[in-house]
């Protein structure tokens, strides 16, 4: 095939998805950042002209605790998910073919189940009249009038619950390719099981670790449904503020400024990672 037809074939195949993503992903992302510099109008849209007012309004110390909470909850969720996900991925990878498929299915089902339903399930479990509260009270593990819902611990618990499959799946994908014989070798050379796990298995799946960490951390950064449904008034995250600006205050520029900030915080490090990986791939080949 001549290079000319090959190039045109490449463009023909690439153009549909490329155009779609340019129009409905790249342009909207740029629009969000631009909207932050537009004045708000009363109908919930944007007014004419440009302004820096929104950015000045954002310079408000009230946002600091929200930013800190968003960051620390996301970091804690990521850490817990990795610590729980690693042994699960390890167990799945070393299990026999049949058990492995069953375990995989067991992780995928909650992953595919409706997000709202999973939050709702916890909401009814932790409800003052719910089964878990009653059980814990009857075992005298918590006081009679304890409230399990609506505090930051609940938000963390449900975040971990919803994100855990997102951590396990990339970890498993990496663990599956890992040569388990290396662990036996390490054990033969005198390493204990912990040492073999920490020094051989964990470095062996580092790619899976980094994609799991990014997946979970970034997903958490944008959460607003979980703090809204199981958290208390003082558990708002950055996402809660964005949703509040859009739906209650009907202030699109303000919401855009917050979303734009979050977007830059997510995408810039991501771009660096992607470019670094592409650079690394060229080095290898």
């Amino acid at each position: 095939m001549s290079t000319g037809t090959r190039t045109s074939r490449q463009w023909l195949l690439t153009l549909p998805s490329l155009t779609w993503l340019a129009v409905f992903f790249v342009i909207p992302a740029i629009l969000v950042i631009l909207t932050a510099f537009r004045p708000a109008d009363l109908q919930g849209g944007v007014g004419p002209g440009w302004t820096m007012d929104t950015l000045h309004e954002l310079n408000d110390p009230a946002y600091l605790p929200i930013l800190w909470r968003t960051f620390s909850l996301s970091a804690a969720t990521t850490l817990i998910c990795l610590v729980l996900g690693l042994p699960v991925a390890f167990q799945m990878a070393r299990a026999g073919q049949r058990l492995r498929q069953v375990l995989l299915l067991l992780v995928i089902i909650p992953f595919l189940s409706n997000f709202l339903i999973r939050i709702f399930a916890w909401k009814s479990l932790l409800h003052p009249e719910g089964p878990l509260t009653k059980l814990l009270i009857s075992l005298q593990l918590i006081p009679e009038n304890a409230v399990l819902l609506h505090h930051s611990g609940t938000v963390l618990l449900v975040l971990v619950y919803t994100q855990l499959p997102f951590a396990i799946l990339p970890l498993y994908a990496a663990a599956e390719k890992f040569d388990m014989g290396l662990l036996d070798a390490a054990r033969d050379l005198g390493a204990g099981p912990w040492r073999a796990f920490a020094k051989v298995f964990v470095p062996g799946v580092r790619r899976g670790l980094s994609s799991a960490a990014i997946m979970v951390f970034v997903c958490c950064l944008g959460q607003y449904v979980i703090p809204q449904m199981v958290g208390g008034a003082s558990d708002e995250m950055l996402g809660s503020k964005i949703a509040q600006r859009v739906f209650s205050d009907r202030n699109l520029p303000h919401a855009s400024a917050l979303a734009g900030g979050l977007m830059l915080a997510v995408l810039v490090p991501m771009l660096i990672v992607v470019l670094w990986q592409q650079f690394g791939r060229k080095e290898e080949s």
Binding site: L105, P131, Y161, Q223, M263
Partner: protein, 256 residues
């Protein structure tokens, strides 16, 4: 060598942790007690109430319309994208690859927010069309990734063999590549279908009056305690269908 029991134990605990809330939900959908704190006898009552709630079935219809049309579009776009990514190595494909990957790591709220900004600024009325556009956008990357995984196992010399035996390029693609690729494309489509049915956050941003999808309906039902047991029943049906879809998709991806 003796294997440690600890990873197996943690796995068991994690699986229990993942399923316990869902199991309680399913059990409570048959529980006569309103809050499900105690077992007050078996009942079909909540399912009967659910059956009689017409607005839920309307929402289901809207959800299915969007999910089917969005996953079909994402299947076509995603398959083309995966083929291009797999066959060509160029600067264009590097950019393409980046554009396909970024939506996977974009928090839902940001995707919803940026599409809303697009629709507000272009004056496009929010409704079925805007929800469809949003769903195709977030499904596209997932379908591409699934099909790409399938393509990596595909033996491209089969295409050359077909050409040597006198098939045209179009015939070779139609008779050799597509049939072998079909399970991957279908698995991607099923994933897109489930993602579309489940989506709440993005849909919430780009929906308009009269386009209350099932997750939006569930969210508004969650606010009134009267309908809580009905959500248990609805959730049970949804979990059962997710289970079926997961098993089907799993079979499709494994069939070599």
């Amino acid at each position: 060598m003796k294997r440690s029991w600890l990873p197996g134990f943690i796995t068991l605990c994690v699986i229990l942790f993942l399923f316990a809330p869902l199991v309680v939900l399913v059990v409570n959908s048959f529980n006569a007690s309103r809050f499900g704190g105690e077992w007050e006898g078996f009942t079909w009552m909540w399912y009967e109430k659910l059956w009689a709630a017409g607005e839920i079935w309307e929402s289901l219809l809207i959800t299915l319309k969007i999910a089917i049309s969005a996953s079909l579009a994402a299947m076509v776009l995603g398959t083309l994208a995966a083929y291009a990514l797999h066959r060509f190595r160029s600067g264009l494909q590097n950019v393409h690859h980046m554009l396909i990957t970024l939506p996977l790591v974009m928090p839902d709220i940001l995707m919803g927010m940026s599409l809303l900004a697009l629709f507000v600024l272009t004056g496009l009325e929010t409704g079925l069309l805007t929800i469809w556009i949003a769903h195709v956008t977030f499904c596209l990357s997932f379908v591409t990734m699934v099909v790409l995984g399938r393509l990596q196992d595909f033996d491209f010399t089969l295409l050359d063999a077909a050409r040597d035996l006198g098939a045209t390029q179009a015939q070779a693609v139609k008779k050799v590549l597509l049939p072998l690729l079909l399970p991957g494309v279908l698995a991607g489509g099923l994933l897109a279908f489930t993602l579309s049915i489940d989506d709440y956050v993005i849909t919430f941003f780009v929906s308009g009056p009269g386009t209350t999808t099932l997750p939006l309906r569930v969210a508004s039902m969650m606010k009134t305690s009267r309908s809580l047991p009905m959500i248990n029943a609805l959730s049970t049906l949804l979990i059962a269908s997710t289970f079926l879809v997961a098993v089907c998709s799993h079979r499709l991806q494994r069939r070599a």
